[in-house]
């Protein structure tokens, strides 16, 4: 999916730039982008490292276990197969808590660890399991209670009431998350053992042999 999307974006951009005579701008940007990627990786990489360290400390102090008890009812609805107090469940809880508090930097390492734990239980680790997809979905939707960035920019732009958007943000987030989870749960019912999945396995295996 991502392979096709990235190729499509690049090809479409090339054709547009050719027709619109913006090849020069695009080329400049293209050459500058890899360095941007390094800057971005360093920026988020540092916070991922830092918060992974904090998370490990919190886990050894038993905080994550307490947290997972708190979120247990929600987790049993979203991830019915997940065992309570398992490493996966603790990572999911940390991720949810960090998301709600708006600690975006802290949520990513916890979420990634949760997905890694989910993938351990699958026969082919390169294919996302239903739980992993649900976890990714929860992170692509915004769980943040207070949209600090949007509010800060509104304040900067001279808004009379930067936080007046809160109820609307909650309503939109809730609807969006509900739609996403429903879609994922519905698709997972139909996707089970689909022939498509088996077909896509083969090229991957062949590639591994030739390498």
């Amino acid at each position: 999916m991502l392979n096709v999307l990235i190729s499509a974006i690049i090809l479409f951009s090339f054709v547009t730039a050719w027709c619109g005579g913006r090849m020069e701008q695009m080329c400049t940007r293209l050459l500058a982008s890899p360095q941007k990627a390094v800057e971005l990786t360093v920026a988020i990489g540092c916070s991922i490292c830092f918060w992974s360290g904090i998370m490990e400390t919190a886990q050894r102090a038993g905080i994550l276990k307490t947290l997972s008890n708190f979120f247990a009812p929600l987790i049993s609805v979203l991830f019915p197969k997940l065992k309570k107090d398992s490493a996966g469940a603790q990572a999911v809880c940390t991720n949810l808590a960090a998301n709600l508090l708006g600690l975006g930097a802290a949520s990513a390492p916890a979420g990634i660890r949760a997905v890694q734990e989910f993938q351990k239980d699958t026969p082919d680790k390169t294919i996302a399991s239903d739980s992993s997809i649900l976890m990714i979905l929860l992170n692509t939707a915004s769980l943040q209670l207070i949209p600090t960035t949007a509010a800060a920019l509104r304040l900067q732009a001279g808004s009379a009431a930067p936080m007046e958007i809160l109820p609307a943000v909650w309503m939109a987030s809730a609807l969006s998350i509900f739609t996403g989870v429903t879609a994922a749960k519905l698709v997972s019912l139909f996707y089970k053992n689909s022939p498509l999945e088996r077909q896509t396995l083969r090229p991957n295996q062949q590639r591994r042999k030739t390498v």
Binding site: L2, M26, K36, A37, V115, T140, A168, V169, V187
Partner: protein, 173 residues
């Protein structure tokens, strides 16, 4: 507001270190172990991130974003999305910093308390950088086949955008 959000992170840190101290955890070794694990995640995700950054840079600078916004304005208006906010909705799932720039322009052009400004604010607050998140999680966890993750997430995003318009019309008349 900013005081409260400035308070949360230091408070979380103090709470964690306080409890760890009481529980007699070897804080330094736990922290180092976690950081090294984080470093592995960063190395795993770097290649995908680089490709995505290049692709999005091309998408923005080639004028493809504007072209696509213009082409999609008719179906968007049918869904209730204002055509002026299409660049924001198209860029939002792809690039966080790119969407922030477009959002800032929208606020200064239409005013933060106008209908469009409010809708844009709610859109920014209720959605995330979908493709970046999918690429990050999949590359960090070694997933090659993300199956229906992207369609399901985009479904949630589309609902988020439409719901933003609806929520502003209902709650902020």
């Amino acid at each position: 507001m900013s005081f409260l959000s400035n308070l949360v992170i230091p408070l979380v840190l103090c709470a964690i270190f306080g409890v760890a101290l009481v529980q007699k955890v070897d804080i330094l070794s736990a922290f180092s172990h976690g950081v090294l694990e984080g470093l592995k995640i960063v190395l795993d995700m770097f290649p995908a991130l680089m490709l995505l950054t290049v692709a999005i840079g091309m998408f923005e600078s080639s004028g493809a974003l504007e072209l696509l916004s213009r082409a999609l304005s008719a179906p968007a208006v049918a869904l209730g999305l204002p055509a002026e906010l299409l660049p924001l909705t198209l860029l939002r799932p792809l690039s966080g910093s790119g969407a922030l720039v477009v959002f800032e322009n929208t606020l200064s052009q239409y005013g933060p308390d106008s209908l469009l400004g409010r809708i844009a604010s709610v859109m920014m607050g209720s959605t995330e950088t979908t493709f970046y998140t999918i690429a990050l999680y999949c590359s960090a966890a070694g997933i090659k086949k993300s199956r229906y993750a992207a369609p399901a997430s985009l479904c949630a995003d589309l609902m988020g955008f439409c719901a933003s318009v609806m929520a502003v019309r209902i709650l902020l008349p």
